[in-house]
């Protein structure tokens, strides 16, 4: 573990986060959007683990547990919203779900 420099782990986490963020912005399928959000959370977890290893502190690993729990809860809520959206709009395309705008404009 000590062989891996902390900067490598952080670059990896940053790349992972950027991929996740890009996914949220460009994907239209809401399932993939949710997955991209998971990727961003994982990226944050990796950064925490790397920091924990660097400073020899267990706090980072404790935070990882928190993040996993949060992610699980988020996925539960997100998937149930997804089901309702699919039920209402007969679609999982995020662009179809755009009622929150001024009438008549696109």
């Amino acid at each position: 573990m000590n062989n891996v420099p902390v900067i490598h782990a952080l670059i990896f986490a940053g790349a992972l986060f950027a991929i996740g963020a890009l996914g949220v912005i460009v994907r239209r399928n809401l399932v993939f959007v949710l997955m991209s959000i998971e990727l961003m959370l994982i990226a944050a977890s990796v950064a925490f683990i790397a920091a924990a290893a660097k400073w020899n502190q267990a706090d980072g690993q404790v935070f990882y547990i928190f993040i996993v729990v949060t992610a699980a809860a988020e996925v539960a809520v997100g998937l149930s919203l997804l089901l309702r959206i699919h039920h209402t709009f007969k679609s999982v395309d995020s662009d179809d779900v755009s009622l929150l705008r001024e009438e008549g404009e696109r």
Partner: protein, 594 residues
């Protein structure tokens, strides 16, 4: 005893208040009774106060107390305000009694009495006020009532135009008076009458006096702000009698007499008062000669008689001015009221040439109008008007401020007065009857007319004041008597010899003169072209309001910004997420760079 002053001033206001709130649901008889009773109470208290009057007295309660300016709601009774109080309440009461019968068939009966009571209350406030601010309040109050009552028959457009004209024209004078008040308050550090009457006159006495004269000219319908009064005759006859003849229009005389020491400090202002009076009395006399509307004749004669009062004020003869005010209030109210009887009897016809021969058909109106007309002509020795006018002419003759040309104009004015008054009497009451009498005066109307007739005659009480010591004063009485008789005689000759008037009408110059006089020497025409039309043009050009453009512009800019910001609200979650990410990147960049 001086607490009665409160009742004098408040009773009409209470009457007006009661009628304003409950008037609509009252039977007509009760509304009329309320209107007359409130003024009656006021008159009784005024008489008690007058009988017990020994020295000036004041009552007051606190009103405004800010920094150096302290103003009370206070009433002051001295000889000048006593004269006004007695005349306003007595003439007011008689006219209320008259109106309670003559106006009985009109719609808005209780509204009429509400306005009339409000007027009497405001006029008493004006006359009794112990400071100039309260006086100004009464001054504006009578102006408001004048507006409301000229436009009493508000369904006629002409009446509403006349009401607005009266309000706007007098407002010009009121503005001048307000400025004078500011200067006086700044100079004396108070607006109390006592301090201003007894204090040293301010440095700019001429300016202040001229501004006050401006206010008086507007209210008292003197040249150049007289144009509203002839049109004010659109109102009911009792209104013309009370407001536009007996009381309100003499408020300017009261104001100048009240602030006499300011005028005495400025010979130029005194001269201005005298000149305004002289010019006005001649001008109005000439205009009255040709008017066809019976009430307009009387309106111009009012302007002319107030001109006499201004002339008296201008030569410092305060007593003569107030004396003429008192007698004028009686005989002019009488003339208007009996003219009201005539107009009512002729189906609201105002044109004197469509009337005629009413001498036998309406004996009460004939005799009372004759008495009023005799007093207006100043028929020697038996009428009140003679004594008061003689007092004015005598004062102009003896005073140092008086000039020969003023006296000459005053004498010519009395010739004109006799001529136009006799003309009206001859045309309306003599000759052959042209219309049937449709309505006869009732008991209360006759009562009011008879009381006013008696008051118009008992000018004998003025006899001791007429001193005929010097031969020049005896000469003056003889000259004015001859002039009055000449005026009456010339009117008689002119109207009894038909070919004479036809020859005059055929003569081009005479015809032009007649039209000039009928139009009041073109003052309305001139004001319409030089003031009213340019103002209308400016208002039309600026109908979108230049100032408003700024605020409209602000609103437009806000609306443009709103439609720009609206573009961001696409409703797509992806775009919002992109916004979040870029925002985060920017913040991260800023944090990293620092």
């Amino acid at each position: 005893m001086s607490e009665l002053l409160w009742i004098v001033a408040l009773a009409p206001f209470i009457g007006a208040f009661t009628l304003a709130i409950f008037g609509a649901s009252m039977p007509k008889k009760i509304a009329g009774a309320v209107g007359c009773t409130s003024v009656g109470i006021s008159w009784v208290c005024a008489v008690i106060l007058g009988l017990n009057y020994t020295q000036p007295q004041e009552v007051s309660i606190g009103w405004i107390n800010v920094s150096w300016l302290q103003v009370d709601i206070g009433l002051r009774l001295d000889t000048l305000s006593l004269a006004w109080m007695e005349v306003v309440t007595l003439v007011g009461l008689l006219i209320h009694l008259y109106a309670s019968q003559s106006m009985y068939d009109e719609d808005g009966y209780s509204r009429f009495f509400c306005y009339m009571n409000l007027f009497v209350g405001s006029m008493l406030t004006l006359a009794l006020a112990s400071n100039l601010l309260l006086l100004y309040l009464g001054w504006e109050g009578v102006g408001l009532c004048s507006y409301l009552l000229i436009g009493f028959w508000y369904k006629g457009v002409v009446n509403c135009d006349s009401a607005r004209k009266a309000f706007i024209v007098t407002r010009i004078g009121d503005t001048a008076l307000a400025i004078a008040l500011f200067i006086l308050a700044w100079h004396y550090r108070t607006l109390g009458m006592q301090a201003i009457i007894n204090g040293a006159p301010p440095v700019a006495a001429t300016l202040v006096a001229l501004l006050i004269l401006g206010g008086a000219v507007g209210k008292s319908a003197q040249i150049p702000l007289h144009t509203w009064l002839p049109d004010a005759m659109a109102g009911p006859s009792p209104v013309s009698a009370l407001i536009h003849a007996a009381t309100m229009v003499t408020a300017g005389v009261y104001l100048i007499a009240r602030l006499g020491n300011l005028f005495l400090a400025s010979p130029a202002a005194m001269l201005a008062v005298a000149v305004v009076g002289t010019v006005t009395l001649l001008y109005a006399g000439l205009s009255a000669l040709t008017q066809r509307d019976i009430k307009r004749v009387l309106a111009y004669s009012t302007i002319s008689q107030i001109g006499y009062m201004f002339l008296a004020l201008g030569v410092g003869a305060w007593n003569a001015a107030v004396f003429h005010f008192v007698t004028h209030a009686f005989f002019k109210a009488l003339l208007f009221l009996s003219a009201g009887v005539v107009v009512d009897a002729q189906n609201h016809e105002h044109d004197i040439f469509k009337m005629g021969g009413l001498r036998r058909a309406l004996p009460v109106a004939f005799w009372t109008f004759m008495i009023g007309a005799a007093s207006l002509c100043a028929l020697p020795f038996i009428t009140a008007g003679f004594y008061s006018k003689e007092a004015i002419l005598g004062a102009v003759h003896t005073s140092q401020a008086g000039a020969g040309w003023m006296l000459a104009c005053g004498l010519i004015g009395s010739l004109l007065t006799a001529a136009y008054t006799s003309r009206t009497v001859l045309v309306v009451f003599f000759g052959e009857q042209k219309m049937e009498v449709s309505k006869r005066p009732g008991g209360l109307v006759v009562f009011a007319l008879v009381v006013l007739s008696v008051l118009s005659i008992i000018g004998f009480v003025g006899w001791p004041k007429l001193h005929l010591g010097e031969s020049s004063e005896q000469m003056l009485v003889v000259v004015s008597t001859v002039l009055v008789l000449c005026g009456i005689g010339s009117a008689y000759v002119y109207f009894s010899r038909r070919q004479l008037s036809e020859a005059f009408a055929a003569w081009p110059f005479g015809n032009a003169l007649h039209r000039l006089s009928l139009s009041g020497f073109g003052f309305d025409w001139l004001y319409q072209r030089t003031i009213v039309n340019p103002l209308k043009a400016i208002a039309h050009a600026n109908r979108r309001d230049i100032i408003d453009a700024f605020y409209t512009g602000l609103a437009g800019a806000a609306r443009a910004g709103e439609s720009l910001c609206k573009l961001m609200q696409t409703g797509r979650v992806r775009n919002y997420a992109a916004g979040l990410v870029f925002g985060a990147i920017i913040i991260a960049y800023i944090v990293a760079v620092r």
